[in-house]
Every structure is written in structure tokens, then in C-alpha cells.
């Protein structure tokens, strides 16, 4: 090394010198050290609730002092229809408010713990270089506000979360979110950006059990969640809340995983990620089907949507998607392009599960709530329908042509509700004719109690243009005892 140095000619020394001067003046990437970048002025950072993301940072904006205010709120929210849960949140939502800054920015962070809260909280931002990621400086009693500041040294997408003991409980109740540190010069422009975060929840009752549910420490220790969801609740980004896009647009998703326990196999059914910032960092992988997102980690994925339809976002640990809630969607509108695609995605996914019954054992000691009246039966049945049936039979019960038979105005069980009961309890496969249309498919047996079967069938009989009636749990019990799956019209 020293030998070769001596042999460097004068001219090459000059070139080298010129190059150094040039890069220094230019502030070129090679020499750039965010720690040394001067901070100019200050602004109050714009934060957004999920699934929204603050506007991209002007690539020419100087490093600035960003004032961030986040308020911790403990409040009751809806986990799924008929099920409530006490969430602990950064800014009122799960995940918490999205923070967007650039490397070189200085952040003055204000953590406010609402006076009505019962617990002390703090914040650990994985974007912070320093003890506890800020947790050591932000331990905040209810009715107090703490302030600390940090310089953003590393670009990337980072998780933040509460780190007060018991940490697992604070995270399990929803205390996590994402902070994006844009690289200097920004990220490439895209048409749409969304914010999604997966989390697992542990409730005293089993999945779907109605009423207010408490946090269950035993299930959390056993890492056996009742709900695995995107953005804090079942359906938070599905149905009416689905994300929107147009054919031809490029979409960027900022995807985090709060945990506390599970690792996400994040996948979008019917899309291939053109680019993935692996683990939210700088490395870019291309043409990815499923990207792994660790608990307490994140990824940035981008893809162009080419055809209209519903794209389903899932944790491809697939029981979580279809049975525990980890399902979202992007509704893409625009012109069909038959050259690229024509057909139904849902068919395939459904068949992968066909013919099997998932038995969900009742939680020990839990007692089932029984309907006290027909009206209550219908109401409880509606919850079952929304949690279980509408994924295939659709929210309007009109089914899907050729795949899922309609339950609306259905002549299949109009004169014999037992046929509906049997299909639910025993499953149904083979050819059937509903409202003049032939279906040749399979429905798996559902693990519902007699009470739940009675509720959902009663709901069906009294909804979607069907002609009324009531089914009792005893009737469901009889059908259950009477035998095995119907084989359609055979």
C-alpha cells in the first residue's frame, strides 16, 4: 500500500485532488454524512393515520428540525363485528400515526400520555441511534409529556413501539407504528402510497366470540393469537375500506409488522412485487412473490397494477388470512386487459382449503352466549355471516357466478332450511342447482356450534329477500346427528 503510493504520478495526484474538491463542493453521495448535515429551520411534522402516508418530501428540501407530537390514547375499539377490545395507541389508531422525515433531519419528539390513561408509556423508535431508541428518555406517566430529540442517521422504514414493562402487553394492545426516513434526494416517484401494519392479538374469548374481549396473557406467552390483522382490526382495509388504485398506476406499500409474536409472510394475491426494499433497508430485491417481515421489522414494496379487480393482501401463513383476519384488499378500477389476465383468483385460493373442516376448540371455561329472542338471533347470526360466510358468498349474499352459489332469494333452501343447516355443518360438494344456475363446487364443513348455526341460518332466512322463519339450536343438533355431507344432486 505504502509502496504503490510513492509511485503515484503528479498528474494522478492532481486528478485525485480535483476529484476530492469537486465532491466536497457537490456534497456528493460518497462523502455525505447525515450526522454533519446542517439543520435549517423547523416545522411541525405532518402525521397521518393509516392507511394514509404523508406526502413525499421535496427532494431539494434542506435537513430541518421536525417537531413531532404523538399522543398516547387507551380506548375501546372494534376488533371485528360484535367484538370490542381495549386498544393502547400512538395517536388513536393501530398502527400509530405515520411519521415521515429524511436523513439528516433532527427530530424533536414530544410524547404525550393522555391524563385519562391508566398506564405509563414510552417510545422506542428503531430509527433512533441511542439508548433504548428513545425509550430511556420518554418514560411518561399519564397526564405528562416528555421531550427528546435525535438526528436521523440511517435511511429506511423503521418500526416504533412502546417499551414499558410488560413490553409484550403494550405491543399486543397495539402500541406500534412506522417512521420512514427517506434517503437524501428522496424515493422514486410513484402514483400511490399506503401504510399497512400487521399485528397479532390475544383475546380472552376464542376468535369471533362476541362481546368485549380482554387481553389474554397465557395465549400471548403461548404465541397463539385469536386475531392476526392488518391495521388493527378485521376488515380495516377490506370491503368498504379497501385501498383504491387505477389500472396502470404504480403503488408503494409501507408494510410493517408490530408483532408482538408472529412473523409475516406478506403477499398480494395476483401481484408480483416489482421491487422490495428488503427489511425496509437499502437493498432492493426484484420480482418478489412473498416477502418476509419480521416482528419489529418492515418492508417497502412497489408494484404496478396492470388489470382491474380486487387484489388481496394476505399473510401467506394462510390460516391467519382466512380464519384470523389477516386479509386486506386493493380495489383496482380501469380497463380490462385480457392479454394479461382473465379469470378469478379467489377460486384457486378457496380450493386449496376445500373439503376440510377447521375445528376451533372452545376456550377453556368459556360459556357461549345464547340468543334470547329471534331478533337477537338474527343480530348474532349477522356477525357470524360477516366473519365467516361473506368472504365467499359476498356481502350482498349474491355469491359469485359459477363458483359460490347465491344465498339471496335462494330457492335452494327456501322450503327446507335443513339443507342450509346441513351445508354448514357437514359441508357440501358436487352439483347443485340454485335459482336455475348449476354449481359444481365444494364448501368445507364449518366448525360452528348449534347455537351459531341456528343464528346464521335464521339471519339468512330473514335477510336478502328470503322469506323468513327461525331455526332453533335443537334443529341444528338434529341435522348434525343425522349424518354426513350432502353430495349435491346425486
Amino acid at each position: 500500500m505504502s509502496l504503490s503510493k510513492k509511485k503515484i504520478s503528479l498528474s494522478s495526484m492532481l486528478v485525485l485532488f480535483a476529484a476530492i474538491v469537486f465532491t466536497a463542493c457537490d456534497g456528493g453521495k460518497g462523502d455525505y454524512n447525515p450526522a454533519n448535515e446542517k439543520v435549517v429551520g423547523e416545522t411541525k411534522a405532518e402525521l397521518t393515520l393509516p392507511p394514509n402516508v404523508p406526502a413525499p418530501i421535496d427532494p431539494h428540501r434542506a435537513a430541518t428540525k421536525q417537531i413531532v407530537h404523538v399522543e398516547v390514547l387507551e380506548h375501546e375499539g372494534t376488533m371485528t363485528d360484535g367484538v370490542t377490545y381495549t386498544y393502547w395507541t400512538f395517536g388513536g389508531s393501530v398502527p400509530g400515526q405515520f411519521i415521515r422525515i429524511r436523513e439528516g433531519d433532527e427530530v424533536e419528539f414530544h410524547l404525550k400520555n393522555h391524563p385519562d390513561n391508566k398506564f405509563a408509556h414510552n417510545i422506542d423508535l428503531h430509527a433512533v441511534t441511542g439508548p433504548g431508541g428513545g425509550a430511556a428518555s420518554s418514560f411518561t406517566a399519564p397526564g405528562h409529556e416528555t421531550v427528546f430529540s435525535f438526528k436521523a442517521l440511517n435511511p429506511g422504514l423503521f418500526v416504533y413501539h412502546c417499551a414499558v414493562a410488560p413490553v409484550g402487553m403494550h405491543i399486543a394492545n397495539g402500541m406500534y407504528g412506522l417512521i420512514l426516513v427517506e434517503p437524501k434526494g428522496g424515493l422514486p416517484k410513484v402514483d400511490r402510497e399506503y401504510y399497512i401494519m400487521q399485528g397479532d392479538f390475544y383475546t380472552s374469548g376464542r376468535t369471533g366470540e362476541a362481546g368485549h374481549q380482554s387481553f389474554d396473557m397465557d395465549k400471548a406467552l403461548a404465541e397463539n393469537p385469536d386475531y392476526v390483522v392488518f391495521n388493527g382490526s378485521v376488515g380495516a382495509i377490506a370491503g368498504d375500506n379497501a385501498l383504491k388504485a387505477k389500472v396502470g398506476e404504480t403503488i408503494r406499500l409501507y408494510v410493517g409488522n408490530g408483532g408482538p409474536n408472529l412473523i409475516s409472510s406478506f403477499h398480494v394475491i395476483g401481484e408480483i412485487f416489482d421491487e422490495v426494499h428488503v427489511e425496509g433497508g437499502t437493498a432492493i430485491n426484484k420480482n418478489v412473490q412473498t416477502t418476509l417481515i419480521p416482528a419489529g421489522g418492515a418492508a417497502i414494496v412497489t408494484f404496478k397494477v396492470e388489470v382491474p379487480g380486487s387484489l388481496h393482501l394476505v399473510d401467506h401463513s394462510i390460516f391467519r388470512a382466512f380464519n384470523k383476519g389477516a386479509l386486506g384488499s386493493i380495489d383496482v378500477t380501469g380497463e380490462e386487459n385480457k392479454k394479461i389476465y382473465s379469470g378469478l383468483l379467489e377460486d384457486k385460493v378457496y380450493m386449496a382449503e376445500g373439503g376440510r373442516s377447521l375445528t376451533l376448540p372452545k376456550a377453556k371455561g368459556s360459556t357461549e352466549k345464547l340468543a334470547g329472542s329471534k331478533a337477537e338471533r338474527i343480530k348474532m347470526g349477522e356477525n357470524v355471516y360477516k366473519q365467516l360466510c361473506q368472504a365467499c358468498h359476498q356481502p350482498d349474499a349474491k355469491g359469485m357466478k359459477g363458483v359460490f352459489p347465491p344465498l339471496a332469494n335462494s330457492d335452494y333452501f327456501a322450503n327446507d332450511p335443513n339443507k342450509a343447516i346441513s351445508a354448514i355443518i357437514h359441508g357440501l360438494s358436487g352439483k347443485i342447482t340454485v335459482n336455475g344456475e348449476v354449481f359444481n363446487s365444494a364448501m368445507p364443513a364449518q366448525s360452528l356450534s348449534d347455537e351459531e348455526v341456528a343464528n346464521v341460518v335464521t339471519y339468512l332466512l330473514n335477510s336478502f329477500g328470503n322469506k323468513g322463519g327461525e331455526v332453533s339450536p335443537e334443529q341444528a343438533k338434529k341435522v348434525r346427528a343425522s349424518g354426513t355431507a350432502d353430495k349435491g344432486g346425486h
Binding site: T86, K118, P131, G132, A136, A163, A165, M217
Partner: protein, 260 residues
């Protein structure tokens, strides 16, 4: 360090100004707690702490009880209290200095009361605040057993009580959760000050085990405490360690003890 300074200064001030008043008609019902052994949750060893018997108030101190105290001791009124002894929201649910008002029913626990004020009240009634070990000793009783901390179901019940969102005005004391000793509301109403509330340091970043202060931490292993599954205790100790003696929180009140 700041905390220590506060306590030192306040001791000096208290020393100079404290006047022992006559026993007030406070109608505190004292429950006798027998002597016994207590296994501290945060201990590095599993040696029990021996506790002498003591008396404890059957309920948390109510607004009505505290009102008598501030009527008799004007320097503890909202308008008179020195800022070093209480934050600006001291007795914030009260309508005025000596008027309770709608948000502070007479039989609800007094809250937004600083450690200093709670300590002064306790002395005024001839008692003191409970040590944390004493408090935990009484709080470890379920409705049927003197020590139920080893029951997983008890810990679960406590967590459920803790996560319940508070309602304003707060409910009355003495109506729920009467434990083995006949003491009410040790859990589920509001948190309580103890005499040495900040003597056990939950590291501000609670996962830090290397810190010398860090007798207690949480995260993966929880090897620093006796029973890792006792998450309800983590919750209480986290809360205590986030406090300073002048803090006045909507969800912290207190009760008194008296030596036998």
C-alpha cells in the same frame, strides 16, 4: 437526582412546617393485617421479607375524607399548595378549594393528589403511607386466599381489572373486590401511592438489565424477577416507577396504614 433533590427539599420543608393536628373525625376503618412473610416480586434472591403486623384502611381515602383534611389544613388547599408539593392539576376534579362538585363524589377515591399531600394526610390521621412490601402483601390476597399471587387465574383477573377504562366520575370506594382480609379495592379502582413508590427502579427503558439500577426489566426472559408470569406486578411497578412525588394523576389515590 432531581427526584432525590425534590424529596430532600420537601423533607426539610415538611420538618419545618408540619404541625400535628388532633385526630380528625375521618371515620377510617382500620383492618388488622397479621405479620407474615412477603416474597418481593423484584428480588434478585428469593429470600422473603418479614413483615410486622399493621393496620390498613379498609378503603382508599375518599374525597370527603380529604376535604376534612384540607379544611383543617389550609396550606394543602388547591390555591395554597406550594408548586414543589403538587403539580398544577392538584385535586383537579374538585370544584373549588373546599367544594367537591359533580366530578368528585364524596365517596369516590380522592385522586390527582400528590405523594406529598397523601403523606401529609396519612400523618394527620396518625398513620403513614404503606411501604410497597406491605401494600403488595395485602394486595396479594384474593377474595378467598391470603396469598393468591401464584394463582395464574388471579394474575389474569387483575390484568382484566387494570385494563378497564376509567369512568368520570369515579365509582365509590368500598363496593367492589373485598379481599381475604376485608380490604376493598386493592385492585381495579385507582392506583395507589406507597411510601417508597420509587425505590424499586424499573429502568426507564424496561428491557435494560445491564444498568446497575435495573433490578427489574422485561422483555424476553424476565430473569430478574421471581415470577415472570406475574405480569400484573410488572404493570404496577412500571406505573410506580414512572412517577415523581409531586405528580397528580387522575388514576392515582392512596390509602393509609398504621403500626400496631
Amino acid at each position: 437526582m432531581i427526584r432525590l433533590t425534590y424529596i430532600l427539599i420537601s423533607f426539610i420543608l415538611l420538618w419545618g412546617s408540619s404541625v400535628v393536628m388532633a385526630e380528625p373525625p375521618s371515620k377510617i376503618e382500620w383492618i388488622a393485617i397479621p405479620s407474615g412473610e412477603f416474597y418481593p416480586f423484584f428480588a434478585d434472591t428469593v429470600k422473603p421479607i418479614a413483615l410486622d403486623g399493621f393496620f390498613i384502611s379498609s378503603t382508599q381515602i375518599t374525597n370527603a375524607q380529604f376535604l376534612r383534611f384540607v379544611k383543617a389544613n389550609s396550606k394543602w388547599r388547591r390555591s395554597k399548595i406550594k408548586p414543589i408539593f403538587a403539580e398544577s392539576n392538584y385535586l383537579g376534579y374538585w370544584e373549588a378549594d373546599t367544594v367537591l362538585g359533580e366530578d368528585a363524589p364524596p365517596n369516590a377515591p380522592v385522586v390527582m393528589v400528590s405523594w406529598f399531600a397523601a403523606n401529609a394526610y396519612s400523618k394527620w390521621v396518625g398513620g403513614r403511607l404503606a411501604d410497597m412490601s406491605e401494600w403488595e402483601y395485602v394486595a396479594s390476597a384474593s377474595t378467598t386466599k391470603s396469598n393468591a399471587y401464584n394463582d395464574n387465574s388471579f394474575s389474569t383477573t387483575l390484568l382484566k381489572m387494570y385494563e378497564k377504562l376509567p369512568k368520570v366520575p369515579l365509582p365509590n370506594v368500598g363496593e367492589r373486590f373485598k379481599n381475604f382480609y376485608g380490604v376493598y379495592d386493592m385492585h381495579g379502582l385507582v392506583w395507589e401511592w406507597t411510601r417508597d413508590f420509587n425505590s424499586v427502579i424499573v429502568s426507564t427503558d424496561s428491557r435494560d438489565k445491564t444498568n446497575q439500577d435495573g433490578k427489574l426489566f422485561c422483555a424476553a426472559g424476565s430473569i430478574g424477577n421471581v415470577d415472570p408470569s406475574n405480569y400484573s406486578a410488572f404493570v404496577r411497578y412500571s406505573m410506580w416507577s414512572s412517577l415523581q412525588a409531586k405528580f397528580c394523576l387522575r388514576n392515582i389515590g392512596f390509602r393509609c396504614v398504621k403500626d400496631k
